[in-house]
Symmetry: C2
Subunit: 339 residues, 2 copies
């Protein structure tokens, strides 16, 4: 059974298609009676407008695209939830794509979204992405774009993120104030701004507190398996630096990997080594000992990014120039048993 069209309703009522269309859209120049008749008939015939036809005519799809490195990542799934919720309020649909931290995939997916003429795009950059032509190209066209979480300073578009550097600084500062002196950092991959910033925050805090920065205390987690990275790096650390008294990790899962290793080799947290995570995922509160970490407004980040995107879509539609904005969401420390 094919879908009912305006034509079908028109035929059924022996009226013209344009009359039906106008009545359905509440135009003033249709008499109340006919309008009501048409509305009732449409309802009865189970009419549903064909979005493709509408898109073609109106040149807007009421759809946005979102590219994230991975949907199953707890952080992103929560952001997505925020985005989808917000989109629904605005009557927008959300197409979700995962780049798997791959630059080429990300690039291709942008094409796909363009092909579908989405009204706007939200991206959290892949770890691999260090060239931005694909995005710059996009920005020159009539398509709104907002970066979130994994952003870059090299792109003059709106962004929603946290102050990773400051947040990391606070975390390490907290360790320092507690008296820890030999603090290692399990950092993220080299490209993403976010992992650079957290590293810089770490370094700065050490310097500010008169602790010499020791590069050999920085371990990189770049195997796309944070838990394992944490576990392995913990193993290495214990071999190489017996004097370390605290670790600040790029993310909670890394910290949980560390905990696992320490549990296996009977190193006690925080007595032997303290541990500070980042993200405040659910698991941070339920592991033993519970994990001190940096709380970031995840759901809010999604909502905010979406909200800004919709504003830009609206501006674009009205041919108003958009001023790129950078929203920094507040973070806070969750102090728990691990320090």
């Amino acid at each position: 059974m094919a879908q009912v069209t305006l034509r079908d309703i028109a035929d059924h009522l022996s009226m013209s298609v344009s009359t039906i269309s106008k009545a359905l859209k509440g135009y003033a120049d249709i008499s109340k009676e006919t309008r009501e008749l048409i509305l009732a008939t449409a309802e009865e015939m189970n009419y549903i407008p064909n979005a493709s036809a509408v898109n073609l005519r109106t040149k807007q799809t009421k759809t946005i695209g979102v590219i994230v490195p991975s949907t199953e990542h707890q952080f992103f799934s929560k952001v997505l939830s925020g985005i989808i919720d917000e989109a629904e309020k605005y009557g927008y649909l959300v197409i979700i794509l995962q780049s798997n931290e791959n630059y080429n995939t990300e690039k291709q997916q942008l094409q796909l979204l363009k092909q579908n003429r989405v009204d706007g795009i939200l991206i959290s950059l892949s770890n691999e992405t260090h060239r931005f032509e694909h995005i710059e190209k996009l920005m020159k066209e009539d398509i709104a774009l907002v970066l979130f979480d994994k952003t870059t300073k090299l792109l003059p578009c709106s962004k929603v993120a946290i102050d990773d550097r400051q947040a990391a600084y606070s975390a390490v500062e907290c360790l320092l104030k507690k008296g820890y002196k030999r603090i290692a950092h399990f950092r993220g991959p080299h490209i993403p701004q976010l992992s650079i910033d957290r590293f810089l925050g770490y370094k700065q805090a050490l310097i500010d507190y008169g602790i010499p920065f020791d590069p050999s205390l920085v371990y990189v987690c770049d195997n796309n398996d944070d838990f394992k990275d944490g576990y392995e790096n913990a193993r290495l650390l214990v071999q190489e630096h017996k004097d370390v008294d605290a670790i600040f990790t790029i993310t909670d899962v890394v910290a949980v990997g560390v905990m696992k290793y320490f549990k296996d080799v009977k190193i006690s947290i925080p007595d032997d080594i303290a541990l500070f995570g980042f993200s405040n995922w659910f698991m941070a509160s339920v592991v033993t000992p519970s994990l001190s970490t940096v709380d970031q407004p995840t759901f809010e980040m999604g909502k905010t990014a979406a909200k800004i995107l919709f504003e830009e879509i609206k501006a674009l539609k009205n041919k108003v120039k958009i001023e790129p904005r950078e929203i920094i969401l507040p973070t806070s420390l969750k102090i728990r048993e691990s320090i």
Copy 2:
């Protein structure tokens, strides 16, 4: 800058639109030279087909819709990942909607997807959904539909799920074999088939092992906050039934809530009470003590559901009648420290 159309290319090359169209689609009746010229020009002009126009013509959108109760739920985010990955292979885009366990929302979202003429729909039913007219209506139209995870026996469409009853049976059987005799069950809400089935598996195991079923040992988790449900029900249980020696929970997060309460009141797991979860989420392996649970193929469920959906979309397109299938994915027990 408006998007380049076939017309633009045609004008640029002084050819007809249809020639361009055919060349781009690789039709045989275009000479190799012109085709190559056209391909090069299209590339150069940065032509990207307008999906809305194509949809309108071809009556397929190469898009599927997915409705889940919540994307931030770890289980669903993993399923979604499987769906998106699989869709990408088939060249399909995925629109994701969350019903928030609300029947009316689910119903409305189905309308939205119809409006967008998606080629197929995947749904995991909301906990509230106990009427299925909205879905039955859909099934009568040219739109493929596959249920996953939260399915129902009342709908004659394809389904992908696990054997919840059997899986729950195995878990409880495992507890019984270990010698636990007074086993409570923290069940899910009353409507979803899945929580009914897990409950039935629990009950059956007891009966088969000669333990009388005691309804007062069954606690319901229906506040949409599994952790809290677990925590609160644990509190109640301890008050009401001091003799219970094991708990089987509907899901891991509930179990983690239980663990938290027990930790707070110094009840030892598994010495005082054993604990068995369901889902094998990441956290199950990292809490202390680690949680015994039922492992289910989450990512696989998404992939499988998508795969079946695409088969049905294909069948529908070729006007082949589709035979509903029910795929049961295998589960297994993960025995850890909590029992």
